[in-house]
Symmetry: C4
């Protein structure tokens, strides 16, 4: 029996949850989870329909993108996932979607401003939009460079406090402590992106939420004095 | 057996109905109901998934926010609920959501104008948007002050005639004679907010409904000469 | 057994279909069907939930709005329905909804221009928006005058060729050869209204469809040389 | 037994899939598949409800629009389908819908610009909008001329690389290697059209995706060096 079975099972369940939440058209989107001790990730196979996917179709690759276990080709976005795991030590799962409203912001090549407490509860400050990829980057290694686009945004940002990003002209990536949380962040990002779209089209010159409320909401759910939830 | 069982059951059913109506993402949103004779309310526990929630998870607190019964921590918005029950004598249930279109208006920090009879049937005049919370209020007691933001809007407004409000930069609260009616008002507010969004983006300078029709529609469903429904 | 049973059954089925098509929030909306020989209509009772409604709850009223059969109060919009049946000889069913996009156009107080063949297949020319009701009309007989608002739009229009109308500041009415067709027209109007909303917000100065295509599409589905469908 | 049974079955399944994907209101939309060896296509009958349709209702016609097999009248859009099959040698299936967002772009009479990689993955460059049909064309043969409108757009375009088009003032057509793929292209077009609508209304002056990314994305899914999927 595979020593990666539990890892693969968690990646599989998270991919199925992403589909069940209605964020996926056909085979778009993929979720991975890392086993830091083993130095491997489990990720969706490329182009496989969710209805047909089995736990054993999940591919295990190391952080240099070599296949460790699995008969199928891993997601074509795998090199972006591994780039994120190599640079963000604290994350355990990554999700990529083309969810509709988040993708619209990516296509508009604009960061999503923090306009309300729904956003402030999950992401600290604006959800950043990366720079447009240069021709040199495209020629070099497109999927790896998509990762570079993301990590370039986090030189002065904490990936745990801002677990959502949109790639200019492309679509979002989210992450979390594990694959399941990265999926919930993808679901929440889509809702935040929709609310921000509606707000902006309702009132073009809307101001971001005041800093004091951003701090209050983020801290009531996160950090050592958090008082939301049951622990 | 708990003497609050029936109260808890009604709060539980109303919370489940809120989720069934599609107004909730994950654990967002909470509903409470009051027992005026006992001076207590029953409210959703904080951060519990709807699929897992049981009647016994509902928390009973008094109007000073002390837990009277229940093993879980009550909703982090409890202090806003109790503030409303203390100040609005005629209400029996309160609902808080982050429903998409109502939240967009809250984020735009604008009251929802009465643009049609759908709105006029349920809320008299514009659905007010509160002021933005001051830094002093945030520092003092955020959830209690959210209640103050609301009651400040009702100095010259009747909460029974206007059972819907939106908090600037945050989201809506609604209320009613009991928890179930507060939920139906949350559902209706979301539909009114969507219609108003569509109307405003279709025609930026649209005028509010004329006062004569506002009065006619509100009075044909409410007051002693109402002739809508079966009683 | 009631001699109106079949009429009531058809009105009942059409009301249930309206709800099943997702055009109804709670008890909003009502459908009727006429028996011209008997001079009566069957219509939804006022304020009754669709889930609870039975065939026997359908109310039969004559064209002067007197109850002929039924224990419940008929829809509060009954006088609008009977006004339409009295003035439009060729119609057999009437539907009233507050469907979202059609209502947004009503609230914007604008006729829905014919922007494409989807519209042209079902309604000839713009879908008219009535005038705003005068104070004198509101005081006189609100629901009867809602009918007057509609028939005023049809002095130079054929109700069979234009079976959809929106009431300024209110919502749509549709009709057809029977209750079932009036419901399908309500469903189609909502889709036409949504498409027109999207088109207008995408391109503010969009021109109506050219007259030659309007004529072509209407005539390929209607009239003696129609060639759409199976007969 | 019909020698066209398998062809009819595939056309039937594709029509049912179109409906299951939520792209159809009532009987709107139709799908066909060609058998190049036999010189015939199988297509949906005109105006038949999806819930009632059987495999045997599918109509087989030759490329001159003569019925070869079937008791029903074929789709009123049949002449557009056969025009496409006669002019685009490489296609095996055609789908026509009035899907909401793609139709809005058609009504706005604008091509859908390539704003992101979701679009670039499936269609190379803008999705073209045809010219408005001339009065002479309408008088001549409306459905055949709808085909001419499309093929006129492909004088300098490859139909395999751009399998989606919108007809000015009307709605989209898509195609693929078979009926099933033409349906998936219809589903994807609707999503692309929605994303482009949201992007454009969010930011009026948004620029198309840079050419280097368009090329990269199209080529990673198509052509001899493609590396998306499992073969």
């Amino acid at each position: 029996m595979s020593k990666y079975l539990e890892l693969k099972r968690q990646a599989f369940e998270a991919n199925m949850e992403l589909n069940a939440r209605g964020l996926v058209v056909y085979t778009w989107g993929n979720v991975s989870q890392i086993d830091r001790a083993e130095g491997v990730i489990a990720i969706k196979p490329s182009g496989v329909a969710y209805a047909d996917m089995q736990v054993d179709d999940i591919v295990v690759v190391d952080l240099d993108n070599n296949i460790v276990e699995g008969a199928m080709r891993p997601s074509s976005d795998t090199r972006t996932h591994t780039h994120l795991y190599r640079h963000f030590d604290a994350i355990g799962g990554v999700t990529h979607t083309h969810s509709t409203y988040a993708t619209a912001w990516a296509q508009a090549q604009e960061s999503i401003p923090c306009l309300g407490t729904t956003h402030a509860d999950y992401a600290y400050g604006a959800i950043p939009c990366t720079a447009v990829m240069s021709d040199a980057q495209i020629a070099r290694d497109y999927e790896e460079e998509t990762g570079v686009q993301i990590t370039d945004c986090y030189k002065d940002r904490n990936p745990v406090e801002s677990p959502m990003v949109i790639i200019a002209g492309h679509a979002p990536f989210t992450w979390g402590k594990d694959a399941a949380q990265s999926v919930s962040h993808a679901v929440i990002l889509e809702e935040i992106a929709k609310m921000a779209y509606l707000t902006r089209t309702l009132k073009r010159d809307v101001a971001p939420l005041k800093q004091g409320i951003i701090d209050k909401h983020y801290l009531r759910k996160h950090g050592k004095n958090a008082y939301y939830g049951q622990s």
